[in-house]
């Protein structure tokens, strides 16, 4: 699918930001170092912004990294998991994982980037059960599939919906005819026009409905 869009100018961190509200819990340089030693090239990048550490992980290693963080370093709590459509040519989709080590009072953010034509990330539901619905939501909204997810169905949109509405190329008001409205009478057909009333179609009062054929 060829996309036509304007790139958002890159907003690279200057590196000298100081966040006055940053807490010591986000200073996890030792965790990042441990990840680098344990996984080597699978730790693709490391970013520090406003006192918070973000680690970019290769998609195929995300399960191993999560298991290591949970079992060896004590990051037992998956706070959040979600997807981002960066809308760029390389590494369009991004999945982020916010992890907390409750006992050690530490927080870390992991990110995984995947291409548009191979938007598949291994599921971490085997490690964090809380990831189940978040991954379903991410699949529903962005179309990122999670390999190994036990129940990868749509979360919000109807099962037969054919699009991924949070992708940037999806129009804000939707695609006419993709989401049917109920029939105007009990035995009528579905209303495919989302603006039926604006186009002059008014649902009839029930006492004006045509007689039932049964």
């Amino acid at each position: 699918m060829a996309l036509k869009f304007h790139f958002t100018p890159a907003d690279t961190p200057r590196g000298d930001e100081t966040n006055p509200h940053a807490k010591a819990t986000t200073e996890v340089a030792d965790t990042v170092q441990a990840l680098r030693e344990a996984f080597g090239p699978a730790v693709q990048d490391h970013l520090t912004y406003a006192g918070e550490h973000t680690v970019y992980i290769a998609a195929e290693q995300i399960v191993a990294v999560c298991r290591y963080l949970k079992e060896d370093l004590g990051y037992s709590y998956l706070v959040d998991l979600g997807g981002v459509d960066r809308f760029v040519e390389d590494g369009r989709f991004e999945v982020y994982y916010n992890l907390v080590n409750v006992a050690g009072r530490q927080r870390i953010r992991l990110k995984v980037r995947v291409e548009e034509d191979a938007a598949t990330v291994p599921s971490v539901t085997g490690i964090f059960k809380a990831a189940d619905w978040n991954e379903r939501e991410c699949f529903d909204m962005l179309g990122i599939t999670f390999a190994g997810h036990p129940d990868l169905r749509r979360m919000y949109m109807p099962e037969d919906f054919a699009y991924y509405p949070q992708r940037k190329e999806f129009p804000l008001l939707g695609i006419p005819g993709s989401l049917p409205l109920p029939p105007q009478t009990p035995e009528g057909s579905l209303t495919m026009d989302p603006y039926a009333a604006a186009h002059g179609q008014k649902p009839v009062k029930s006492y004006e409905e045509p007689r039932s054929s049964k």
Partner: protein
Amino acid sequence: MDPNSGYLTTTVDAVVNWARSNSLMPMPMGLACCAIEMMAFAGPKYDVARFGSEAMRFSPRQADLMIVAGWCSYKMAHAIRRVWDQMADPKWCIAMGACASSGGMHRCYGVVQGIDNFLPVDVYIPGCPPRPDAVIHALMDIQEKIRNQYSIKQDYAFGPQRASPKDTAPLMVTSSGIQQAEPDVLRDHSVEQP
């Protein structure tokens, strides 16, 4: 029977409409924050019991007024329509708030841009959310609508115009037999008229 004992003639429509308009049982289709205002509308402060509508019926079979309160998604629309179809006639519908009336601030792919795309709405209430007073006003509008409806629609609203019936006086059974009532038979003759 004493013809001066006083009695009243009326139409069936008048009695039926009076009964219907003063005992509307709302089906609370609370979808969002408007539902909170709808609870206040039914609660003791705004006290819709004054209008006979305090009995919220959570079964569509017992309800005759659907108040759609809040934004309605495309998925929910099918459930609402089914509940509406399960309600027995006669039934009325209020679109409460900007979202139910037009989609409101939810101008996006997942929210129906006005429930009148699939429901026959009788009264729209603006507001985000509307005050309970506004909901009471909408209920009074529905009552007004009910009081002005006819059961024999062919005579009044539809079909060819017919000649008005001749002026007739109702028949009365009196001690001297059956006779037509005098025009002022309902007047209390013991009171001096001005």
